[in-house]
Symmetry: C2
Subunit: 132 residues, 2 copies
């Protein structure tokens, strides 16, 4: 049974770093940031990342091979994720839109496939970057 709340030492360290970050973090950049805390090997990072993803604490931005903290509180199991990604500054924002989520969760493929999960990534230029 998956422990819903308690995080192990390494999981907590990795989560802390991701939560403090302003944008998505890459695995090796996390690694470099925690070497002072005694974590030395990629495995340790990837193991923590896997568990945190499983718990819905973080999400992987597939198009960037990077990780962000979940801000949605209601996506404990991350089976319906949507992100807004700025192609200029790399900012990532988790989209929490009930209508969108319902629409996509109810979408079923003509070919008879029933979906369990989806991930949606929107790309554009964010407000901040547009001004420059």
């Amino acid at each position: 049974m998956a422990r819903a709340q308690t995080l192990s030492r390494n999981q907590q360290i990795v989560l802390d770093i991701i939560e403090k970050a302003k944008g998505p973090l890459k695995a090796y950049s996390i690694l470099f940031n925690v070497q002072k805390k005694g974590i030395n090997a990629p495995q340790q990072i990837y193991r923590a990342l896997d568990k945190l993803i499983g718990m819905g604490k973080i999400h992987k931005i597939e198009s960037k091979n990077a990780f962000v903290a979940c801000r949605s509180s209601d996506c404990e199991i991350s089976k319906a994720t949507a992100f807004s990604i700025c192609e200029s500054c790399e900012m990532v924002d988790e989209i929490s839109d009930t209508k969108l989520s319902k629409y996509l969760s109810g979408f079923n493929h003509k070919k008879g496939m029933k979906f369990k999960r989806f991930n949606l990534e929107f790309f554009g230029i964010c407000k901040k970057c547009k001004k420059d």
Copy 2:
């Protein structure tokens, strides 16, 4: 100006392999498949892949780091992609659903971001795998 139709030698070789494949192909698997045709280096594959993606001839399945041929005919510029992915057999099917595409193309973020492009990946177990 991007040549809309003519493919270079390597681009054609890579596209042929991807189109003949039943499922998504990985870059290095493409490479191993074309070494008999005189292509020896990853760069040659990745360059062709980049161009083919730019032309909308193929798409990258971000969650798998793999490539599929476009079957939609109408996505010359691939700015609105959606896929159905079986978590058991790895089958990938491009979803071509006008309503879905319109819904998502019209979706705009509360925070004032105007989207230029999206990629949606649905996951589940396909019909064929369910029978087993």
